[in-house]
Amino acid sequence: MNARKQAMTLTLNDEPVDVLVRPYETLLDTLRETLGLTGPKEGCGTGDCGACTVHLDGKAVASCLVLALQARNRTVRTIEGLSADGILHPLQDAFVRLGVPQCGFCIPGVLMAAAALLAETPKPTEDEIRYGIAGNLCRCTGYTKMITAIAEAAQAVPQGASR
């Protein structure tokens, strides 16, 4: 078996990156272990909790289900790339002000799911928000403050924003 690392390129948080990946590694593994990111997390490894949510070509996906090589030549955005120029994205700002994060483990995934939701549906209803983050389990907050924060942030995100 030749399970040795292979080189691949991807665009990560707006920058081109060359990286060596193992064929049996997931995109989540590569982001965390090789590229040193701490935002995307493993909560279950099987796509059932959303803690690993990143944007792949602009779409929210469970990065624990994507093999690293499947991300070759594609665009990936993680929570580390949600804010630009050091300024918090309106979602991040709303989450901080409204006291949303408790243990914090689900937060990067929720924010990435919410950002993808707002990019597709700029003025979501409460139902759309709830379904937009229904793939993200949170055990600490009961979700209520998240919904409020996302609705508030939706007012502040410019139309046509890519994230």
Binding site: Y24, A60, L65, G132
Partner: protein
């Protein structure tokens, strides 16, 4: 996961060659939403994984007067959102895509994966069966077309040989005055798996049902065709009584087991309810309602 090699074909031909070379030691991956959990749970330990993400034709979805051609790598999200599937005829298919997992899973999960993984609870299969889809399969000996109803032979078993690849689903246009619906029961609103799923398609002419197709998920090792129910409706006006009769016949066609997701008794109960409801909705759609 255990270690494995990956092959990254750029075309259908390269893919078939890779499968020929490695045979049963190889597994195909598209969205990975079924494969990766199985790898992580050590249910599968392939030496080689063949990635379909670089084979562009598999992601096409075309629609014309003859019907749909759905590439095997079209995602559940695409089925959910594609404007061409929102009309009454194909609506059941869009509904089934919308129910898979969560948004993060739907952006990855493919209709081909749903079929080839052949889990009894697969959501996208009943509407395709109700639409009488045909599977187009590629292999070293060329292409072959197999009605979808003949493709799945058991739990996680299909007629595809180890060196074959599902290319697309050909869905014939069911005609005007046809409506489809898919419903399933799950304990949660999202991130869940069907306890029972029912896909119904009815086609009308002059107020009478000319064709009825009802397919059931998660009530047997393979999808079940409620044939007796279908026959009871064809040639009839679909009154609530007729629909109820069909629902009863659908229950008789089901062979559910009891497991940790639901008892056989509850599953039979649900077959009746969901058959009634999908037929009622499919009828309304066939009659032009956009409900």
């Amino acid at each position: 996961m255990r270690r494995f090699e990956m092959i990254l074909p750029g075309s259908v031909k390269e893919c078939v060659q890779a499968l020929q070379q490695h045979g049963a030691a190889a597994k195909l991956v598209a969205g990975g939403t079924d494969l990766l959990p199985q790898l992580k749970n050590h249910l599968l330990k392939p030496g080689v994984v063949v990635d379909l993400s670089g084979v562009a034709p598999l992601r096409q979805l075309t629609a014309d007067k003859t019907g749909l051609r759905i590439g095997a790598a079209v995602t559940a999200r695409e089925l959910e959102r594609d404007p061409r599937l929102q009309g009454p005829q194909y609506r059941g298919l869009a509904e089934s895509g919308a129910l898979v997992g969560s948004v993060q899973v739907r952006h990855l999960a493919t209709v081909g994966g749903n079929i080839c993984n052949a889990a009894p609870s697969a959501d996208m299969i009943p509407p395709l069966l109700a639409l009488e889809a045909v599977a187009v399969i590629a292999g070293p000996r060329g292409e072959r077309r197999v009605p979808l109803r003949d493709v799945i032979t058991g739990v996680r078993k299909t007629v595809l040989a180890p060196d074959e690849l599902l290319l697309e689903l050909a869905v014939p246009d069911p005609g005007p005055h046809s409506g489809g619906a898919y419903l399933r029961h799950t304990p949660r609103r999202e991130l869940d798996i069907a306890v029972v799923g029912v896909g119904s398609q009815v086609t009308l002419a002059n107020g009478v049902c000319t064709k009825a197709r009802i397919a059931l998920a998660a009530v047997a090792p393979t999808p079940v065709h409620a044939t007796a129910a279908e026959r009871a409706l064809e040639g009839q006006a679909l009154t609530p009584q007729k629909i109820e009769e069909a629902a009863t016949l659908a229950v008789e066609a089901a062979r559910p087991i009891s497991d940790q997701r639901g008892s056989a008794e509850f599953r039979r109960h649900l077959v009746r309810v969901l058959t009634r409801r999908t037929l009622t909705t499919a009828l309304a759609r066939a009659n032009g309602a956009q409900a």
